[in-house]
Symmetry: C2
Subunit: 199 residues, 2 copies
């Protein structure tokens, strides 16, 4: 099982003995999804946190006009879940879909709670990654209130450098909050602007 990555990403924030590492790993379930598989659909209760060991997932909502809005991407090494549903155990509004064939490690809510009890350090670990996540959503909200679509695109590029060229452009558009048509126009404009600056 490829658990190096998850252990490494955890021990960047807390120290664990070998037994603790093994105990933690024993709580995980590996699972494989194929491109376009849905890991979670809106209306369902989210029962797991998902850690991506290979591939890429996307979390998105569908508004009442049928348009999709991407909340987050989860490439290799990232966690994803419908936090609202996971916390409340009520039906959520998030869809999570595999953008390519993807391997994940599942940590169920009940096992996560058990983990907090068995190894209190994990309370700290999840507090820290939740804090970091909170900060980045605050920043993204401010960006959406104050930046143009083009500036938000640059922020996307900084946040997900590995995805710039691998992701369908319509997914990027749905993340920065514009239509695919406008995104296309915007890119053309950016090219001509770039050329002007070269002269």
């Amino acid at each position: 099982m490829s658990t190096n990555l998850i252990i490494e990403s955890i021990t960047r924030h807390i120290r664990l003995s070998n037994e603790e590492k093994e105990h933690f790993i024993s709580l995980l379930q590996p699972k494989i999804y194929k491109r376009k598989d849905f890991i979670l659909e809106d209306g369902q209760v989210c029962k797991y946190s998902y850690f991506v060991t290979a591939g890429c997932l996307r979390g998105f909502t569908v508004d009442h006009n049928g348009f999709e809005h991407v909340l987050n991407f989860a490439p290799t090494g990232w966690w994803i879940a419908d936090m609202y549903s996971l916390l409340t155990q009520k039906p959520g509004i998030l869809n999570i879909e595999a953008l390519e064939n993807t391997e994940v490690l599942l940590l169920s809510k009940s096992r996560q709670e058990k983990l907090y009890h068995d190894i209190p350090q994990f309370e700290r670990f999840f507090r820290i990654i939740t804090e970091n996540s909170l900060v980045s959503y605050q920043q993204r909200l401010i960006d959406n209130l104050s930046l143009t679509a083009e500036e938000r695109y640059h922020n996307f590029c900084r946040r997900y450098p590995s995805l710039i060229n691998t992701l369908p452009k319509k997914q990027i558009a749905a993340y920065i909050g514009v239509t695919p048509e406008f995104f296309s126009r915007m890119q053309r404009q950016m090219l001509t602007k770039g050329k002007k600056q070269q002269d």
Copy 2:
């Protein structure tokens, strides 16, 4: 000292003995700000979490055109801080200002860390409120991507019912992400719409 409110809001999530409560309270510093006082300015390092026991604060950023964007309000019973700066201890981008004469309890970062050590339950408490805060910023981001200004105004009303009539309208406009001019027009439209529905 008016610490009933903060103890009550904490014991909604974790259980504390009387000694633990007293220890916690001993770590807090009360402070009073006057209307228009700045609790924190962008560029400063945030050294405290602030709990409002009376009055109201606002957290906002100023963009490169000089426009203000409200990240959050903190009426009585709410916490506020520049999370980014508090976590990293680097200069932040948030301003926190008193909208009226306001009483707060300060919890310094170093004391908060001491608290995690002395009473590990607090690790859980702050994890939970951070989780809840994360969920609401996620929702607000989705709302900004998918809803009209009018729908976002309704969400503001649900989130901060006590502020609808007490807050200057330009503050509400800066929260939902429109200009005061447009907010004014929007309200007039909502009135005439409401009248039509009555007929």
